[in-house]
């Protein structure tokens, strides 16, 4: 069934409304799902927990990136506060489960809900201000939330602003190694991914896009801007909160270092390199940004040792700054050369093979 599209020939509403209409796309999705399910097996055989932890980090980051893309790529509201909203989720989860003994799934929901609430609150200025001003308002949100966590000990847990949580368990199964945690994260990642895919093609998603493209026009055709802007903030922060709560359970500690302004910017970078206004792009961006430092580390250390004979200790400091430099240079490069990001590159590949081998 490797046939390709040759026009739209849907015969029922349900097939017309399907998320993936082409047989090839359906097959791809199922195969990908299958691969994701058995991904830990080879790593488990080699007992490679480190590689698994990288995959877990990517999946967690992807959830946050998808959330930010809904707000930023689809609704056009810039947010520099994604890290702070993740912090709200993470600390909420830590507080409800360490102080009130709630199970982890409740912590994740509570974290998402609380983040949505706080995110909506900071989204209120978006009704009056937009663009740059909004970016600065969310920057303030980031700094205020960070400060609060560090200075209010009931929220931040006092010393070093960290709260420990127990290993999450579900039906007696403890998520106590990377492979088990992978499946926990995978469930939430898939939920987040398909929820977003469906959201952006629904009435709500179209309203978001209308606001992004021209807010005045959107208002005129009857989109309630007040409602949908706040909704975008709420949904996006909910994603951030869930991602933050998962981080907390994953690391078994809520620590503000994981949610700084730098993290917010990292998420923005993910969606820009991945592609604004693309759910798949968010995931690609998360993969790219999370793999980049690892690849850089390995290659720089190899080169330093192999070519110049420099031991690791003397490269360590250079490495951190080199990463920063490459990170910034990549942002600039992508923005100038391919503003639509990796998602666009993927589209180009697909488009090429759509006509292949009979181009033109």
């Amino acid at each position: 069934m490797i046939n390709r599209e040759a026009g739209v020939f849907q015969t029922s509403y349900s097939s017309d409304m399907a998320l993936y209409t082409l047989p090839l796309a359906k097959i791809t999705v199922w195969v990908t799902l299958g691969l994701l399910l058995i991904l830990p097996l080879p790593l488990m055989l080699g007992n490679n927990e480190h590689a698994m932890s990288i995959v877990n980090t990517i999946a967690l980051a992807a959830i946050g990136a998808i959330g930010l893309n809904i707000l930023n790529g689809y609704t056009g509201q810039i947010s520099l506060g994604q890290g702070a909203f993740m912090a709200v989720g993470g600390y909420t989860a830590a507080i409800v489960s360490s102080r009130y003994g709630m199970p982890f799934w409740f912590g994740i929901l509570a974290g998402g809900g609380m983040a949505a609430l706080v995110g909506t609150l900071f989204g209120i200025p978006s009704l009056r201000i937009k663009g740059l001003y909004l970016a600065i308002a969310t920057l303030a949100a980031q700094l205020i939330i960070e400060w609060t966590i560090n200075h209010v000990s009931w929220i931040g847990g006092g010393a070093q602003s960290s709260i420990y949580v127990d290993t999450p368990t579900f039906l007696g199964l403890a998520f106590n190694n990377e492979f088990r945690r992978y499946y926990l994260i995978l469930v939430f990642f898939l939920l987040a991914y398909f929820a977003a895919q469906n959201l952006v093609r629904s009435r709500v998603g179209r309203a978001f896009i209308a606001i992004r493209d021209r807010d005045v026009a959107a208002e005129i055709i009857g989109v309630n801007i007040f409602k949908y802007k706040l909704l975008a903030f709420a949904v996006s922060s909910f994603y951030a909160g869930v991602a933050g709560a998962l981080w907390t359970y994953y690391l078994r500690i809520a620590n503000y270092e994981n949610f700084t302004l730098g993290v917010s910017i990292e998420y923005l970078t993910m969606i820009i390199i991945g592609g604004l206004g693309s759910v798949l792009g968010s995931v690609l961006g998360a993969i790219f940004i999370k793999l980049l430092p690892i690849v850089l580390d390995l290659s720089v250390i190899r080169i330093a040792k192999g070519v110049f004979g420099i031991p690791y200790e003397s490269v360590a400091n250079f490495l951190a700054n080199f990463q920063l430099f490459i990170f910034g240079a990549l942002i600039i490069l992508f923005l100038i050369a391919e503003p639509e990001g990796l998602a666009r590159l993927w589209e180009n590949v697909k488009r090429y093979f759509r006509l292949w081998p009979y181009a033109y």
Partner: protein
């Protein structure tokens, strides 16, 4: 520090706050200039300041280089950098969505931070100017001389910019571009040249900021954080008003100094990094265009 609660204590906080505020204003001017002419918020302004600070510190370390020559080289270097940045990475961004433009300056900020640390190491470098250390005592107030120097430089800068924008042809052209790009093109102003010029001037402002802040804090990566502090200042003053940047800087400096003096003992420090942003959020709610900013009325 004086005893808390007395009038002297308040005046002391106020004076030092105002002096620091002028230094904020100096960085804020670079910011406002770019926004005014190109509608771009430059998140890398703090990093330009940092770069200038390192540049100054390194050059002062060279033997036999007189101070005036160092300042001259630094200023020319920063102006040239401003030109290059505008041509190389900002011009391709014309017509791109806002988030891309913001991100490109954030990317620039990372590149500068990484580059500076790779070339000159991450440690703090001393930047010593021939200024006495002992504070002046004016009535009940202690004022450190470097603050006075900073204030003087800031004032000279601000007056010079003020004259430039009202008296010179180029300055008026820049204001015209800020007001309406198309109309300026129609009357024969080369908008691209104005863009480049505003980045060059921002580089110059960064050079001044780098020397002064570098002397206060030492040349280190901390200098780039000064850039973040400038947001509340420019929002309060109005993103496109140079006068606003000065007044905003003064108010913000005074507010954070007074707030830190009175509140720090109760909350355990850090008020300085918190109050300006709270104030900024309030301003954004009540009067988003700031004190003297250009008021755009949009009803959506």
């Amino acid at each position: 520090m004086k005893v808390s609660g007395t009038m002297e204590f308040f005046i002391d906080l106020m004076t030092n706050g105002l002096l620091v505020g002028l230094m904020y204003a100096l960085v804020a001017v670079g910011f406002v200039l770019i926004y005014k002419a190109t509608s771009i918020i430059n998140f890398a302004q703090g990093d330009l300041v940092m770069l200038a600070g390192y540049g100054a510190a390194v050059m002062l370390g060279l033997r036999g280089l007189p101070l005036w020559l160092m300042v001259l080289i630094l200023c020319i270097g920063m102006i040239a950098l401003g030109f290059v940045l505008e041509r190389g990475i900002l011009r391709p961004m014309i017509g791109q969505p806002l988030v891309s433009v913001i991100m490109v300056t954030i990317g620039l900020s990372f590149v500068l931070q990484g580059l500076v640390a790779i070339v000159w190491g991450a440690g703090t470098r001393k930047l010593e100017l021939p200024v006495p250390l002992a504070p002046y005592v004016v009535g009940p107030v202690f004022i450190s001389p470097i603050n006075v120097v900073a204030a003087v430089i800031a004032l000279v800068f601000l007056i010079a910019f003020g004259l430039f924008f009202t008296r010179s042809r180029l300055g008026v052209a820049m204001r015209a571009v800020a007001d309406d790009q198309q109309a300026s093109m129609v009357v024969g102003i080369r908008v691209s040249r104005v863009f480049a010029l505003s980045w060059a001037i921002a580089g110059l402002a960064a050079a001044a900021g780098g020397i002064i802040w570098g002397n206060m804090l030492g040349a280190s990566s901390l200098l780039s954080l000064v850039g973040l502090k400038v947001f509340p200042v420019v929002i309060l003053g109005g993103l496109d008003s140079i006068g606003g940047a000065i007044v905003g800087g003064l108010i913000m400096g005074a507010v954070e100094s007074v707030a830190a003096g009175y509140l720090d003992p109760y909350v355990g420090g850090g008020t300085k990094d918190f109050i300006p942003y709270v104030l900024m959020i309030l301003v954004l709610f009540i009067r988003p265009y700031g004190i003297w900013g250009h008021e755009t009325i949009e009803r959506v």
